[in-house]
């Protein structure tokens, strides 16, 4: 039996493909593989037929074309260098500012820490155990009420939420609580 000819089918049906057809998104890979096994860019002037462009890139460029899309930055050599200089100076300035702020915070924290430590060691008369020993005063009870009273007062958390709604005091957690909302709560 004679095999029927596929000529008509081949001519008119887009579904009939003798060669296996890749999805259009993968065609760029084929184009790229045609280049020689090289990591360097192809020189455009050498390449007579023009550089093989990836169709995906063409599509992206096409769809990015819009009056609201800002034009790409294209600078001359010296202008780019000036731009780069300004950029580096700005980055440097910012990083210096950041380190300065961090140092200030650290200094403040250390000062507060030292002040609290001093408060913890003094008694009601403002004297530490060493001061008492030096002046010949009778020593205070080390664990007693008199020692470090000001420190304990300073550590009280009264009034830290003054002026701030108490709802903001909820501890930030990764996941919500077991019961999502406490409906019984009133202020």
């Amino acid at each position: 039996m004679q095999v029927p000819s596929t000529g008509l089918l081949r001519a008119f049906s887009p579904l009939y493909k003798t060669t296996p057809c890749l999805p259009w998104t993968a065609r760029g890979c084929v184009y790229q593989q045609r280049a020689s096994f090289s990591s360097t860019e192809q020189r455009q002037k050498r390449n007579k037929g023009g550089q093989k462009k990836d169709p995906r890139i063409t599509q992206i460029r096409y769809h990015l074309q819009h009056p609201l899309t800002p034009r790409p930055l294209r600078f001359s050599r010296t202008r780019y260098l000036r731009h780069w200089t300004i950029h580096r100076a700005w980055q440097l300035y910012q990083s210096k500012l950041r380190t300065q702020r961090e140092r200030d915070l650290e200094k403040q924290y250390n000062t507060m820490h030292a002040a609290c430590e001093a408060l913890r060691l003094i008694d009601n008369h403002g004297m530490t155990t060493q001061d008492r020993a030096r002046l010949g005063e009778p020593p205070q009870d080390e664990g007693g009420k008199e020692m470090g009273r000001l420190y304990r007062i300073a550590m009280l958390k009264h009034g830290v939420w003054d002026g701030v709604p108490i709802e903001y005091a909820r501890i930030q957690t990764d996941s919500p609580g077991r019961e999502g909302w406490n409906h019984a709560w009133t202020q």
């Binding site: 096994f37 990591s39 360097t40 260098l81 200089t85 300004i86 100076a89 700005w90 440097l92 300035y93």
Partner: protein
């Protein structure tokens, strides 16, 4: 007036000849060692020059170009666009360009540079002090050495950081004019190598299993590029047999200062062994005591010294017909040295007496590296396949087997898979 309105000054087109700060122009080629091209004359004496001679750097109208060609029989130099720009712009050096933001930025960067240099001085003083005074309480000799070493490292970092924000340094590096004796250019070159080329190299040598096959591990610190004659070969490329008949040359760029001696070995791990039904090694080239420094980068395999450097001379790679491609890995191994003394060369007469290091077949690079305490610092790779020229190459080498074709052994099908007729024969 102009000083009161700096913005206006900045916005004004600098191509007009109102601003004359310095008579020279270093925009195009900044400070280079070679003499700059003849400086374009400033615009006052341009018409005077026009009458006598035409400057090939400045002519930019077709008429003057023709005139240059007919009267002085010279061609204009550079593009017309560039010549026009040179002829009509004022000659302000890059660092003095009158843009307010740019100048403010430069001030900040120069201030930072001064700070960095002061810090370098401080660190130097501190190192001297540490070396002069005795050991601290509870500190050993090794701890003090560690302290000094870390301070030296900090100085090296600062040297780079002091210059990394300089636009002219960046420009010079991009033009390929960087002086590799200076830490900043070495650091920039290292960065650009690690950004792309080193990644490609590592991918090639791991995908083609060079690393566990020849040496167990390598972290390349020297950038390599191989070329046969004039043809540059990317890492892992298949090279024609006629091209690789002559010994190649390499560019070995190291990025840390100082001189060192290296050993270069070209090893093929895919030599077929028919008796064993497996593969063996073959050494195509082995040379020691090759001097390397950031500025001495070129190594020509053919012109190394026979007595003091070459152990095994170059043999052209060949692959017999029917075989897969064969990898030829080039390893750069650093010879042991101490930081204070100049590097001591290996004793080649002793090496040449040992048969296992002078025989090409069965050469084990692991054994060689272990025996002489060599540290792998660089690697490159090319491949060879059978092609039209291979038979001729083998004939010229005096190797027999150019007419042999390797074929796969026929695997006898199991009885039940045989065709009907042959099953019971």
């Amino acid at each position: 007036m102009a000083s009161k309105r700096p913005i206006t000054q900045c916005l004004r087109c600098t191509r007009h000849d109102r601003i004359h700060i310095l008579p020279f122009r270093n925009l195009t080629t900044t400070t280079t060692s070679e003499p700059p091209p003849p400086p374009p004359p400033s615009s006052e004496d341009a018409p005077k020059q026009q009458s006598s001679t035409l400057n090939p750097f400045l002519v930019h109208t077709p008429r003057s170009e023709r005139k240059l060609l007919t009267t002085q029989s010279q061609y204009p130099i550079g593009s017309r666009r560039r010549r026009a720009a040179l002829a009509t712009s004022s000659n302000i050096p890059f660092t003095q360009l009158p843009y307010q933001c740019f100048q403010e930025a430069r001030k900040i960067l120069l201030e930072d540079r001064r700070e960095k240099i002061a810090e370098i001085e401080k660190m130097r003083d501190r190192i001297e002090k540490v070396q002069k005074e005795g050991l601290r309480k509870g500190e050993g000799e090794s701890e003090r050495e560690h302290r000094v070493r870390s301070m030296r490292g900090r100085i090296e970092d600062l040297k780079v950081l002091a210059d990394i924000n300089d636009p002219l340094v960046k420009k010079r590096f991009e033009d390929g004019l960087g002086d590799m004796n200076k830490p900043i250019y070495r650091s920039l070159a290292n960065q650009s190598w690690r950004n792309y080329k080193r990644k490609v190299l590592l991918q090639r040598i791991t995908q083609m299993n060079v690393i566990p096959d020849i040496l167990p591990f390598i972290g390349p610190t020297v950038s390599t590029s191989l070329s046969f004659g004039r043809k540059k070969v990317p890492h892992g490329e298949i090279v024609e047999s006629t091209l690789s008949e002559r010994a190649p040359s390499m560019e070995l760029q190291c990025f840390d200062k100082g001189e060192r001696l290296v050993t270069i070995a070209v090893v093929n791990p895919d030599v077929p062994d028919v008796e064993k039904d497996g593969f063996g090694y073959r050494c195509h080239f082995l040379a020691s005591n090759v001097r390397l420094s950031p500025t001495e980068t070129g190594v020509d395999f053919a012109s190394l010294h026979d007595e003091s450097q070459v152990i095994i001379p170059w043999m052209a790679p060949y692959v017999q017909k029917g075989l897969q491609y064969q990898r030829h890995a080039i390893f750069i191994l650093e010879q042991p040295s101490s930081p204070t003394e100049p590097p001591t060369p290996l004793d080649l007469t002793e090496i040449k007496k040992q048969a296992r290091y002078t025989n090409r077949d069965g050469f084990k690079l692991r054994s060689f590296a272990d025996r002489y305490r060599l540290r792998p610092v660089g690697v490159d790779l090319f491949r060879a396949v059978w092609d039209e020229g291979t038979a001729g190459v083998m004939e010229r080498l005096g190797v027999s087997g150019g007419d042999v074709e390797f074929k796969r052994k026929r695997v006898e099908p199991l009885p039940y898979k045989r065709l009907k007729g042959e099953r019971f024969t």
